[in-house]
């Protein structure tokens, strides 16, 4: 089971109300390479991956939910004081018409989240390579978001998340090596 802890993994601050930035950040909430996709992908792959890497998928998958909460907090803080007119000016009019100020799992362009963003192939190497690619894509997205953002407080949190993707990618690469080693051992005997 999972236990919720009433704290963010890393402090999230924003300098000002900025619904335009929030609109872009939604990419990492319900987008193809976002935190929801990451969490669901890893936690689902666990059941059929070799035992040696189940712990890693469990722990990274769990951390992704903490990142999802950080992104939600950023979006919430960037939009909570915005008027409907400000949301409209920021390109969030379509969102407001359907959801008011509520968050929803869609990408920056408003496309709703779909399970087709993620895969579970049952082949451990194929699955782990997908996971490495997912981390690299998420890292790139965070970079594009930082490049567009002029909010130093927000960027501090975004940089933390970008660095986590680098670590996750590194750990998944190590997992591939562990499985390759196992496979080669079996071949010798």
């Amino acid at each position: 089971m999972w236990i919720y802890e009433k704290k963010l993994q890393y402090p999230v601050k924003v300098s000002t109300c900025n619904p335009t930035l929030a609109k872009y950040l939604i990419e990492q909430y319900g987008g193809a390479d976002g935190e929801l996709a990451a969490a669901l992908r890893y936690l689902n792959q666990r059941y059929t991956i070799p035992d040696k890497v189940v712990g890693l998928l469990t722990d990274i998958g769990t951390e992704e939910f903490a990142h999802l909460e950080m992104i939600a907090t950023m979006i919430y803080k960037l939009t909570k004081d915005a008027t409907p007119q400000q949301l409209r000016d920021a390109g969030l009019g379509d969102h407001y018409a359907n959801h008011d100020g509520a968050l929803f799992y869609h990408n920056a362009a408003g496309v709703p989240f779909t399970a087709t963003y993620i895969q579970a192939k049952g082949d451990p190497i194929a699955d782990l390579y997908e996971d490495i690619a997912a981390e690299e894509k998420a890292r790139a997205t965070y970079q594009w978001l930082i490049d567009m953002s002029d909010d130093p407080d927000l960027n501090d949190g975004l940089r933390f998340l970008r660095e986590r993707e680098i670590i996750h990618s590194q750990r998944f690469r190590e997992a591939v090596e562990i499985l390759k080693e196992e496979r080669d051992k079996k071949k010798i005997f």
């Binding site: 919720y4 009433k6 993994q9 722990d59 750990r171 190590e174």
Partner: protein, 86 residues
Amino acid sequence: MNSLPENYYQELEQIQAVDFVLVELTLYLDTHPDDVKAINQFNQYAQYSKQLKRAFEAQFGPLQQYGNSFSDANWGWGRLPWPWQV
């Protein structure tokens, strides 16, 4: 929810820092399970984290649910602010 004292943020950040070490060590140990030094460091930080949380919870209410934290006298869980509100 602007009524939280300065030390709420300070102590929370301390917990976040210590727990970050634990997240890092967890993922590292998942792929380096034979590193005894890292395991010792992990256990040391796990203990430190528990101490900090006990002190924090005594002032600001439970951090976890389902019995992993003790409750205050009037179920502060639902009353005290949530992470996105502070």
